[in-house]
Amino acid sequence: MPTLFDDQMSQAMTLSAFNARIKKNINNQADLQYQWVQAETSDVQVRRGHCYMELIEKNPDTGATVAKTQAVAWASVFAALNAKFHHVTGQQFASGMKVMVCVSANFHEQYGLKLVVTDIYPEFTLGDMERQRREILDRLAREGVIDMNKTLPWPLVPQRIAVISAAGAAGYGDFMNQLAHNAYGLQFYTCLFTAMMQGANTVPSVLAALDRINAHIDLFDCVVVIRGGGATSDLNSFDNYDLAAVIAQFPIPVIVGIGHERDVTVLDYVASVRVKTPTAAAELLIQRGTDALSHLTDLSNAIVASAREMLAHSREQLAYYSSLLPAAARRVLDTSRLRLEGYARTIPLTVAGRIATERTHLQHHGERVVVAAGQHMERQRLRLEALSDKVELLSPRNILNRGYSLTMCHGRYITSADQLNPGDTITVHLKQGRARAIVAESKC
């Protein structure tokens, strides 16, 4: 009699048989085959031409992973798929990308469930990258910083250059070579601030390099951020708000040369200058130097030309004046002689005229003096006559004639009774003779 345990034993199947059953169910399920799926790539690794990855979905609000499945693009399709992807997006297929892929669920007894990627729609990724970029740029514009680095004035000749690059990068070598061997003998002073230019640490690493440059900011005219020369790898990390914001607000102009022709990142929009390659960055700096040199040559030529012109002009002026001199001298002499002759003629006439005038004046004055003297004499005579009549009228004799008398006592004229005392002898003068009398009484 078999026990329950034995019964279960007999019913239990091998894992491989069970997995075979899963496989049969999954692999033959039509709606699990060739289905287009939106997902984000993670942990992308290429081994022996096969591309292994995880496809994940994150909660857009929290960022928490809500779905995750292993996936693979077999080498037979991956080469074509990656080429197509690169052609459209300008990027290698890599981690951290939003993708739209055609997948088939495939279960293997030994390896478990995998989604087999058979096709990709790169425009979806491009659109997503573009949307991210647009969001970052919109935010920078809203914050008013997007054009700050672009509008910084450049020094006339940027010679002191802070370089951000990976230390051994081919692009850095190209840049340094180009600067050092410029054909014009221009001097450049570079200082390398190393940073990782790809991978997950790119942003913090470049930010740290910018920070180190900022500590010595007075020593530099500009910053050059370069990468490239080797294989194009993902530029996704450069589409980063924090990095773009720091570059936009960096106090000296920044040249960005991190991609190739088709790769555009937000840094290209905020940097003072965008160039395609490190070599182009060097050429740009050399160009500024040669512009300055040719400006100096222009100035030098202008100075020589001006000096020559001034000398020629002065010489011409001198020749002109020296040609004028004899004629001018003759004219001065002639004028002087004429003026002199004029004077000589005028002087006697002037003198005679003057004497005649003065004589007339004199005569006239003489006559006026005589007349005035006569008039004065007559006035005095009339005045005298008037006075003499007055004197006559007021004379004492005239008064006595009219019956008045003049009283004197002790030789003084008496005009008041209180001048006299009884018994005084007074003399009274009359018109005819005088009389002596004695005062009987005096009263006022």
Partner: protein, 68 residues
């Protein structure tokens, strides 16, 4: 000594100014010698700044690079 303190921009600005003065028809020939002499000095300063090596600056930058 004075030239050492001039920046490239200052030197070029002074040069441009001198050229303008010399091109002015009112410019007196009495100033010609002074102006050309000064121009030559300034041109030398500018050319030197572009092409001669500033060893002191080079050393400072090497030190900064080495300190990383």
């Amino acid at each position: 000594m004075e030239e050492q303190e001039l920046t490239y921009t200052q030197a070029v600005t002074e040069l441009e100014d001198l050229v303008k003065k010399m091109q002015d028809p009112e410019c007196s020939i009495d100033n010609l010698s002074e102006y050309t002499k000064r121009s030559k000095e300034l041109l030398d300063v500018c050319r030197k700044r572009l092409t001669a090596t500033d060893e002191a600056l080079k050393t400072i930058l090497q030190d900064i690079e080495g300190a990383q």
